[in-house]
């Protein structure tokens, strides 16, 4: 009996010990829903260049948002104002401060733009380190330059992280001048390997034409980027202006041209203007929702009403001649959208059947007014702007030929060839049913750019270049020179000691 007891005890103990020994695990689990790319020695492991590139193109639709980079480019300018209507659009003052130039380093849209642009810039670095084909590498270089150019434009400093830098490494920071050189050299390096590009409904990849357009813009603004004092004064070099003309001509040579119908590029019809667009998912819905009044909706496929937000300023509206085709286009009757015309909407608004729209809150006829206070605005205040129309199925445009055309004209003007510049401007004005100018000044050039490219996210850059950014109008309370650069988000400053805050913040 005792033996049996002892045997059974020992047997059980052995079982227990063996069970314990065999149960130890190395605590490494297989990942079933993602690909692990880190190798045991650390360092970057190549990803799928094609998939990453496709992700970037697909993600270009973020430009259609009414906040982020669009708001940073538009609201500080005299083209657009984001009023607070009672409780609507108050949003902790984020919009009001953009108009008044009173933003600070904690501004949400500044932070969002910083993250969006820098994140995409890093994805391009990853593509370049992932054994891309030569054309993929060229596209990645071009895209990286495009994103970095915007960072340089907004903040004047561009951080850069290489793929082998880990969590504890701080990205190096390029100064504005260094960034400019880096951006331009990368664009020029990418140029030969890209497709030439031609007008199309969707032009969602980087092509030589897109790079030429970007280079034109960069050389035109080079004086701004290279200036020791960010607010100017700027001295424009004739050699740079010649570069602008050359790149603009290259775009023209690829088959792009001005569209006789001003609003046509924003539709889904063929147009010679579209140089770079988003992919099919870049629906520009935000562009009309952000400006239309609550009661202008009622479309069958829409899920909610418009947001009644941004408008333009009466002074900007007055820069148009009455018959300028860019100011207003009657769209006739459109199923469900009739009554919503294109261009600048002022005064009484109508429904498709011709009846007057009545404001459901004030119960008065809906008439858009000229005046527009920044705070405490009533719902019907402000002139609205429609460039993309709900019926048109257009795709959001990032680069357009008119911009390139005007850049060439400006370059000619700045390098002293006033006659050629005047001819170009008058050609455009004739196309747009505006009277020809007798002479061309810088102010007239600036005004023409505004009339052609309003609400297309280029206003701030133009105002800075022409020295019109730090001007008092409406509710702009801060006209200090330092506001030509946005502050680096305070969170970003805390995360990277290589960054130093811009002056004035």
């Amino acid at each position: 009996m005792k033996n049996l007891k002892r045997i059974s005890t020992i047997a059980l103990s052995c079982f227990v010990v063996s069970a314990l020994v065999s149960s130890c695990t190395d605590l490494i689990v297989e990942e079933k829903d993602s690909l692990v790319v880190q190798n045991s020695g650390g360092g970057f492991v190549a990803g799928d260049a094609g998939a990453l590139l496709e992700g970037i193109y697909n993600g270009l639709s973020f430009y259609t948002d009414q906040g982020n980079t669009y708001s940073l480019n538009q609201h500080p300018s005299a083209e657009m104002i984001p009023p607070t209507r009672g409780v609507d659009w108050g949003d902790n003052g984020v919009w009001r401060t953009l108009h008044g130039h009173t933003w600070d380093a904690t501004h949400t849209q500044v932070l969002n733009s910083w993250n969006a642009l820098n994140g995409r810039s890093f994805t391009c670095e990853q593509i370049l380190a992932s054994n891309p084909s030569s054309s993929q590498a060229a596209e990645a270089r071009a895209l990286r330059s495009m994103f970095m150019a915007q960072i340089m434009d907004f903040w004047g400093q561009v951080p850069r992280r290489t793929v082998d830098q880990g969590v504890d490494d701080l990205p190096n920071v390029l100064s504005r001048s260094e960034a400019f050189d880096f951006i331009v050299s990368n664009l020029e390096e990418a140029l030969p390997e890209l497709q030439p590009g031609a007008p199309a409904t969707i032009n969602s990849t980087m092509t030589q034409s897109a790079v030429h357009a970007l280079l034109a813009r960069l050389y035109l603004n080079k004086a701004v980027y290279k200036s020791t004092s960010p607010a100017g004064p700027y001295t424009f070099d004739n050699a740079d202006m010649a570069q602008v003309v050359a790149h603009a001509d290259a775009v023209t040579a690829a088959g792009f041209g001005l569209d006789a119908d001003f609003f046509n590029p924003f539709t889904d019809q063929e147009s010679p203007e579209r140089i770079l667009t988003t992919e099919a998912n870049g629906v520009p819905r935000n562009r009309w929702m952000m400006t239309m009044h609550y009661d202008q909706g009622g479309f069958p496929a829409e899920r909610d009403g418009p947001w009644n937000g941004f408008t333009t300023l009466a002074d900007f509206y007055d820069t148009f001649e009455a018959d300028d085709l860019r100011r207003f286009k009657d769209v006739g009757s459109n199923e469900g959208y009739g009554g919503l015309n294109k261009g600048f909407l002022i005064g009484q608004q109508y429904r498709e059947d011709g009846s007057e729209i009545v404001d459901s809150r004030s119960l008065k006829p809906l008439q858009f007014s000229r005046d527009i206070p920044l705070a405490g605005a009533a719902t019907e205040k402000g002139i609205r702007v429609i460039k993309y129309h709900p019926t048109d199925n257009g795709i959001y445009i990032l680069l357009r030929y008119s911009d390139v055309y005007l850049m060439k004209a400006e370059a000619l003007l700045r390098s002293g060839d006033n006659g050629a510049a005047l001819t170009m401007i008058n050609n455009l004005r004739t196309l747009r049913n505006a009277t020809a100018l007798s002479s061309l000044s810088e102010d007239a050039m600036f005004a023409e750019r505004g009339r052609e490219l309003y609400w297309e996210a280029i206003a701030r850059t133009d105002e800075i270049r022409f020295g019109k950014f730090n001007v008092q109008y409406q509710d702009v309370t801060n006209t200090e020179a330092y506001t030509v650069l946005f502050p680096i988000p305070s969170i970003a400053i805390a995360s990277n000691t290589n960054l130093s805050q811009n002056e004035g913040y």
Partner: protein
């Protein structure tokens, strides 16, 4: 009687001439014997304890009557008018009562023994039990009699307010909704602050097992409480380990405390069958003070002709029924218990509720000469949640509750043709929302274990436990295209979320108990392995060609998939995590006076990269049982002990695998224009290979005391907790693969405080008992050494995009409020901010309470019991996002309904309702949370029924607070970038007052 008869008859036979004397004698004798035989003898005696010492004050009472006395100082008693065939009951606090049959004895001496239950109350600690008097750590045990009664959906509600230092906040009044448990303050910043729940030895994973999710444009709702599956009726006791020395045995997950739940076993003996039935009604405690239709028009609101009380349209009186059946028994240490239960709880909002069907089995058997004890506990439950779109973050058009608050009372519910009167997507009709939406989550969960304990040699035991925890949950939510609401009108939405979890446990440990003279030794060494598998998939379909809710869910191909219509998109993810641990503990006792405990646990987790996988968590504690010392006067103290403990525990609650770089396709989404945003191939997270355990160091000093023979007892604890290496999602240094990166921050979160718990037996008389339990906890919380600031507490509403109310920064408590200081209105009706139109800290005002407490009073009178339970929270502030979004003049001038106080205020209609102290209120409250009246029917005669008890319970009967919102116990999830918020009230499901009537019968 017979004797007398014989006596009298013989006497009668013998001498007839003595008849008159005989008659007199007979009469006298009969009188005497009548009085003595009809229940009259004197009984005297002495009562002593098991040591032979006299026991004064013992209640000596004739059973079933009020005839009783108390023993005098020498333990003697004298009881008259005692029926000689009756029973005398001897009872004294702290001693086991005895009932002794008189059997005509006139002298009965009694020895009373100490009540083992009370003085040697046993507490479950990790991997074993310990006598309460020997516990060196801060532990609290509550048994069934302490549980909250009434309609209890999940286990946390049982212990709410009963234990000092354990603060339980229900996020809202939703049946089955989330519950927030904080033991000794909040230590971690991001989610994962809850304690570890262990059910019958199986630690639960703590993750969500149901999908919360989207409700179209109405916002997103949180997941259901994962503990809903456990039928509270099956729980025998809950033991809470609070300080590090107690929780260190669970090392890696013990930083926030450990809650050990033990389910009921069968009782020894011939066993019993129990059936409990109850039915309860619930109604809203306090309706919102909204304007009626006539008041709305009188104040200037647009008059659309109708008269509707939207609160009446949405709310109802809800009925809850519960059935619980159990049977079991046991003998010689074997036992078995089987139970089944049905809970059908309706919520006070129409169409909402939870049903639970549960079954459990708990059995064990001793074999091989009682050396091997094999047992099993199985819990199986099917819960069906019917949800309504009451969400956390709806925008300016609102969710169901927001629609109820802001809808114009002059809007009629329906048009004359019977269809719903749906004005616009910005102002959805609440009755239409209820009618045109359906959200059901069906969950099946099985939790159980098989364990075997073998006694190898004397004192050495080996136990192995194999546990499992499987759940499958499926959410099907449909919103009809007929509903005029954001993202739903004309297109409809269907959401499917399926989550499967499979967790397994294998534990083996040795225990050794031995007495070496004066020294008692208890040792534990073991190994534990746990594996957590998770899989989730979700689908979203839109652009429906049908509008019937059931067809949308069950014929989802009705979604239009042709070109140009984004319709059905899917996403899925799956991960596996493992936890491997080695642990040991030594308990040493010296003459039962000095007790020492040392624990260590080494945990390895797959959440961290190589080099950091293992964390070691030691702890030390000691107890000095002062009551055993001679210098402590035993006639003053009945118990006195001093405890000291120190330990390090860990926390590993962060998402899966953030230390390796991983890439996958992001989720696709259907955007507002009905086109699909394709998911791009990208990095999951910015990998940080240096991630390691978050650790909490805790020091605890405690005093256990008892006075007046145990009539007043309690404990006092002081603790200091410092959490370091905080696991935190910080902003990456851009450019980076992801805007956020998880790091261990070298910041500290410090919690320090005091806990008091008292138990007083005020009256312990013959028929009447009165007992009071009180507990209070004081906690102070501060964050130190944090670089940078982190915002949380997103505030939603019209014109409030990007608004937030709380900020985490160094020198402030966690979730400190960061608001503009409001100073009234100017002549134009716009807000004045005397300290500047920018947000700032407010001297440490935060939603963390300074004091939490509970008070229970128990009365017992004969067969009636009455217990009342109050709980209170003080020192916290609440931010009413409801008031910020809806109760402003601007909202009223937009044609929305508001509360009465808005109409008379001097605010102007164009005033922007920026985030400010205008909407910050004190959240102090005292609540009569539970009132329970029970009546036990005397079933002494019947053999079949062993007990019959009726009870009436009232929950949430009275609330004393200055908070103007619906209820001050609220916590809506307003996280920003994964940082949780606390104390914000936004369209929370309202609270109900519930009356429950029920009966419990045992056979």
């Amino acid at each position: 009687m017979n004797q007398l008869y014989q006596m009298s008859s013989s006497k009668l036979v013998q001498s007839a001439k003595f008849l008159p004397r005989l008659l007199a004698l007979t009469l006298t004798l009969s009188i005497i014997s009548f009085t003595s035989f009809s229940q009259n003898i004197n009984v005297t005696g002495k009562v002593v304890d098991s040591n032979g010492d006299e026991l004064p004050g013992v209640t000596v009472q004739v059973k079933g009557t009020s005839n009783g006395v108390s023993t005098d100082l020498s333990g003697n008693y004298s009881l008259s008018s005692v029926p000689s065939a009756g029973t005398i009951v001897y009872s004294f606090v702290g001693m086991t009562s005895q009932e002794i049959a008189v059997q005509s004895r006139s002298n009965i001496n009694v020895t009373l023994a100490n009540d083992e239950q009370l003085l040697e109350e046993v507490v479950v600690i990790g991997y074993g039990t310990v006598k309460k008097k020997d516990a060196t750590g801060a532990v609290a045990a509550i048994g069934e009699k302490d549980f909250n009664k009434g309609v209890i959906t999940s286990s946390e509600q049982l212990m709410q307010g009963r234990v000092a230092g354990v603060a339980i906040t229900q996020s809202s009044g939703e049946p089955g909704g989330g519950i927030n448990v904080r033991i000794r303050g909040t230590s971690s910043v991001r989610a994962g602050n809850g304690p570890l729940f262990v059910v019958d030895g199986v630690p639960l994973s703590g993750g969500d097992i149901t999908g919360g999710g989207s409700n179209g444009g109405l916002g997103s709702s949180s997941a259901r409480n994962p503990l809903n599956f456990l039928n509270p009726n099956d729980i025998a006791s809950i033991d809470i380990l609070k300080d590090a020395s107690a929780t260190a045995i669970y090392g890696s997950r013990g930083a926030n405390g450990v809650v050990l739940i033990t389910t009921k076993k069968g009782k020894q003996g011939k066993g019993s069958m129990d059936y409990t039935f109850s039915v309860g009604t619930s109604q809203i405690t306090k309706k919102f003070d909204l304007l009626s239709a006539s008041e709305f028009v009188a104040a200037g609101g647009p008059n659309n002709g109708g008269t509707t009380d939207w609160q009446d349209e949405v709310l109802r009186t809800a009925i809850t029924t519960q059935h619980n059946l159990s049977f079991g028994g046991g003998s010689n240490g074997d036992s078995y218990r089987f139970s089944a239960g049905i809970l059908d709880q309706d919520g006070i909002i129409n169409n909402s509720g939870i049903k639970r069907y549960s079954a459990s089995f708990n059995g064990n058997k001793k074999v091989i000469n009682d050396r091997l004890n094999i047992g099993t506990q199985l819990n199986l439950a099917n819960t069906v949640d019917a949800g309504v779109p009451v969400t956390d973050n709806s925008g300016f058009s609102g969710d169901l509750l927001a629609a109820m608050l802001k809808s114009n009372p002059t809007n009629s519910v329906r048009n004359s043709d019977g269809t719903f009167n749906q004005v616009s997507t910005v102002e959805p009709n609440p009755a239409a929302i209820i009618a045109y939406s359906k959200d059901n989550t069906n969950t099946i969960r099985a939790l159980g274990n098989i364990n075997a304990e073998l006694q190898i040699v004397d004192g050495l035991k080996f136990k192995t436990v194999v546990g499992f925890d499987r759940s499958i949950s499926s959410r099907k939510a449909a919103f009809s295209p007929l509903l005029k609401a954001a993202q739903i009108e004309n297109v409809g939405q269907v959401y499917f979320t399926d989550i499967e979890t499979n967790n397994s446990l294998w534990e083996n440990y040795f225990t050794y108990d031995k007495e070496f003279g004066n020294v008692s030794f208890n040792g534990l060494a073991g190994y534990s392995y746990q594996r957590f598998e998770y899989f989730a998939k979700s689908s979203n379909a839109t652009n429906f060609r049908v509008d019937d809710l059931d067809l949308m869910v069950n014929n989802v191909s009705a979604a239009d998939n042709s070109k140009g219509f984004g319709s059905i998109i899917n996403g899925s993810n799956s991960n596996v995590d493992e936890l491997q641990s080695y642990f040991g503990r030594i308990n040493l006792g010296f003459s039962s006076k000095y007790l020492l405990t040392a624990t260590v646990r080494a945990d390895g987790s797959t959440r961290f990269g190589s080099g950091n996988k293992y964390g070691v968590f030691p702890s030390f504690a000691g107890k000095w049982r002062l009551i055993e010392e001679d210098f402590v006067p035993k006639n003053v103290f009945s118990d006195l002990g001093l405890r000291l403990g120190y330990g390090i525990t860990g926390n590993q609650e962060l998402p899966h695998n953030l230390y390796q770089e991983r890439r996958r396709y992001g989720s696709a989404g259907i955007n507002n224009s009905s086109s699909i945003n394709n998911g791009g191939f990208g990095t999951v997270a910015f990998a940080n290979p240096g991630l390691k355990w978050e650790s909490t160091t805790q020091f605890n000093a405690g005093l256990d005391f008892g006075f007046a023979g145990g009539r007043l007892s309690g404990s006092l604890d002081y603790y200091y907790k410092n959490t370091n290496d905080l696991l935190f999602q910080v902003f990456s240094a851009q450019p980076a693969p992801s805007p956020f990166v998880w790091r261990n921050l070298d910041a500290d979160v410090i919690n320090r405080g005091l806990e008091i718990s008292l138990n007083a037996i005020v009256v312990d008389a013959n028929d009447f008992e009165f007992e009071i339990n009180a507990n209070a906890a004081f906690n102070k919380n501060v964050v130190e050494n944090l670089l940078g600031v982190y915002d949380t507490g997103a505030i939603n509403g019209q014109g409030l995009t990007g608004a937030f109310a709380q900020r985490i920064a160094s020198g402030q408590p966690l979730f400190a409020y960061f608001l503009r200081e409001f100073g009234g209105y100017d002549e134009a009706g716009n807000s004045i901010y005397p300290n500047g139109d920018f947000q700032q800290f407010l001297d440490g005002a935060s939603p963390n309470p300074t004091v939490t407490g509970g008070l229970t009073t128990n009365f017992k009178y004969k067969s009636l019991t009455l217990s009342a339970f109050f709980n209170g929270v003080f020192g916290n502030y609440l931010y009413s996002n409801n008031a910020n979004a809806f109760f402003t003049k601007g909202s009223f001038s937009n044609g929305r309904n508001v509360t009465r106080e808005v109409v008379g205020s001097s605010e102007g209609p164009l005033n922007a309702p920026d985030v400010s102290t205008r909407f910050l209120e004190k959240g102090d409250f005292v609540r009569l949370a539970n009132l329970n009246l029970g009546y036990t029917v005397n079933t002494g005669k019947t053999d079949a029924i062993s007990s019959l008890r009726f009870f009436l319970t009232g929950q949430n009967l009275a609330l004393f607070t200055n908070y103007s919102g619906q209820d001050p116990e609220v916590n809506t999830n307003k996280q920003i970038n994964g940082i949780p918020s606390f104390g914000i009230d936004y369209t929370a499901y309202p609270r109900a007052r519930t009356w429950t009537l029920g009966a419990n019968i045992s056979f």
